[in-house]
């Protein structure tokens, strides 16, 4: 099979180039179908953990940004 492909490539490099994305998509979707996907319970757990982390850090960060507002008034 590989040999046939090589031969083809030697004849027509354009065809080989066009084949690369197709090959890539095929391999990728094969991999995806083999993958273990998270189930609902796991997914909600992940979303919760990431969400809490994101929002918590974001709120602390935003609080600091708020401190900026009076400082801006003072120096500008």
């Amino acid at each position: 099979m590989a040999k046939v492909n090589e031969k083809k490539g030697a004849v027509n490099p354009v065809e080989k180039l066009a084949e690369a994305p197709v090959e890539f998509v095929r391999e990728g979707s094969q991999f995806l179908s083999k993958c273990k996907k998270p189930d609902m319970k796991e997914y909600t757990k992940i979303i919760k953990a990431v969400g809490i982390g994101f929002v918590a850090v974001g709120i602390i960060g935003y609080a600091i940004k708020l401190v900026h507002i009076p400082i801006r008034y003072l120096i500008v």
Binding site: F24, E27, G28, F31, L32, K34, C35, K36, K37, P38, E42, Y43, I46, I47, A49, V50, G53, F54, V55, V57, G58, I59, I60, G61, Y62, I64, K65, L66, V67, H68, I69, I71, R72, I75, V76
Partner: protein
């Protein structure tokens, strides 16, 4: 020139540049957490407005507005360029070293030190160059005096220097994961909260009305305000394009959720111990093997291209549509007095402001931008998985050290099997992330989509590192006891 190595050039700078010393003993979990959070917060705190900028409206507007979200860059503050220089010099130099374009022997202590210094120096140089490009383009105002130029340089480069050192603190083992990634994640999280719940009032329109920055707060205000009807308030909450609206917030959240979903895709390879019989387990290979780095890399390239174009068009062509330079490279048009959007050749790499105007005015952009993101992302993922510490070869070595092997494989076959899986996983993951970022950008997120992809992907790996560290050494953590969380992660 045989024997010439780029890293030797920086030898004279080795004693001059300050360096963060690696911790003498193992840093405890609490300390790490505190170092990580505080340095990210210092970063946010240092978004001070620049002094010495002329007060009048300048003609030159922001040419990189859609790239800022990914690099935590705030216009006209000390962090004009965010962590872009640190990020790009770290990533690009490591890439070059991995491709053997820069000769570094990472086994030699001195080479490692030199490489580090080189990375810092390149980052500093980038801050300097970017600052001066912006200064001389007139972005901070026309005809600045020498004092002003010096002052601006001092501020931008000085702030950049602090950022470099701060990310080094985290890199060197005082924090989790890599410094720029951590800072980036925190900035993106902050921006998300500010765009959703931010209640600072910003004047919009000519009649001096004020609207809240956050989309949800704006919705509540719009429903109660007197100068709008109930329905009009609702409509503007979803549609305003000068500040974050509910649509963008929802899209950003959807992107974040999809990244989380993709993040937990994994291929579970059955493994067993070679020493003890009957002990079998699974080893997960992630779909997002390289994480958000691939999208970040694409954006680093975009940033570089756009800055280069800005130099050509603004500094050389003076943004004059009749000059020859601008006829070739296009020129900038200022949009709603805030942004600069480039015209034809460069517009191909600029995501459209909204989906419909993009479809009508620049249909080619959809192909070129998509192709650019996909090709660079996949190429990067392919190269990176081969050279980072988790390549197939390294993993096989790790397996051998820990006396485990894939079920049904001989020890020699392990590397081969892994080599079949890991490159496919990382490139496919990179392609999917790129697609998510592209979809977000085409829906008119102005960089928030890509920023969210990078932020959530790195935030996820950060959370994972923290939880691993917590399980290993969190038993004595005073912070966990105070928070009363025995094991929430």
């Amino acid at each position: 020139m045989a024997g010439f190595r780029l890293i030797d050039v920086v030898k004279p700078f080795l004693p001059i540049l300050p360096e963060v010393e690696a911790p003498f003993e193992k840093v405890s979990f609490d300390d790490k957490l505190v170092y990580t959070i505080i340095s990210a917060l210092i970063y946010i705190f240092s978004q001070f407005p620049l002094a010495g900028v002329s007060k009048e409206e300048t003609v030159v507007k922001d040419p990189i507005y859609f790239l800022r979200g990914v690099f935590g860059a705030e216009p006209k503050t000390l962090l004009e360029f965010g962590i872009f220089p640190v990020f790009s010099s770290g990533l690009i130099l490591q890439l070059l070293a991995g491709l053997k374009l820069i000769k570094v022997n990472f086994k030699v202590q001195q080479d490692r030190e030199l490489f580090q210094t080189l990375t810092k120096l390149v980052a500093l140089l980038q801050y300097f160059i970017l600052a001066n490009i912006f200064i001389f383009s007139g972005y901070y105002g026309e005809d600045l005096s020498i004092v002003q130029i010096g002052l601006l340089n001092l501020q931008l480069v000085g702030a950049g220097f602090v950022v470099i050192l701060m990310s080094e603190v985290i890199d060197k083992g005082f924090g989790f994961a890599s410094g720029c990634m951590t800072i980036n994640t925190v900035v993106i999280a902050t921006n998300l909260v500010a765009d959703t719940f931010g209640f600072s009032q910003i004047a919009v329109g000519s009649d001096g009305n004020k609207e809240a920055q956050g989309s949800i707060i704006n919705l509540l205000q719009g429903l109660r305000s007197k100068h709008k009807t109930f329905f009009g308030g609702l409509l503007s909450a979803f549609n305003r394009d000068y500040l974050p609206n509910l649509n963008t917030t929802l899209i950003v959240l959807a992107i974040g959720a999809s990244v989380c979903y993709l993040q937990s895709f994994r291929l579970e390879l059955p493994i067993r111990s070679t020493k003890a019989r009957g002990v079998s387990n699974v080893y997960p290979i992630r779909l997002l093997h390289v994480g958000g780095l691939s999208v970040a890399f694409s954006y680093i390239l975009l940033f570089t291209i756009h800055i280069a174009a800005f130099v050509v068009i603004q500094l050389i062509g003076k943004n004059d549509p009749s000059s020859i330079v601008c006829k070739i490279f296009g020129h900038y048009e200022s949009v709603s007095n805030l942004f600069y959007t480039p015209t034809f050749p460069l517009s191909l790499l600029t995501p459209p402001k909204s989906l419909f105007s993009g479809l009508l005015q620049q249909p080619l952009t959809f192909f070129v931008y998509t192709a650019f993101m996909l090709v660079t992302g996949i190429w990067f993922a392919d190269v990176w998985q081969g050279m980072s510490g988790s390549s197939a070869r390294d993993l096989a070595l790790q397996f051998k050290e820990q006396d485990i092997t894939l079920t049904g494989r001989r020890e020699q076959g392990v590397a081969k099997e892994l080599e079949k899986v890991i490159p496919v996983a990382s490139t496919t993951g990179a392609a999917l992330l790129a697609i998510l970022a592209i979809v977000g950008e085409f829906l008119g997120l102005k960089g928030k989509g890509a920023g969210m992809v990078v932020g959530v992907a790195t935030g996820f790996s950060l959370l994972e590192l923290i939880s691993i560290d917590y399980q290993q050494s969190g038993g004595q953590s005073a912070l966990a006891q105070v928070l009363g969380a025995p094991g929430r992660f």
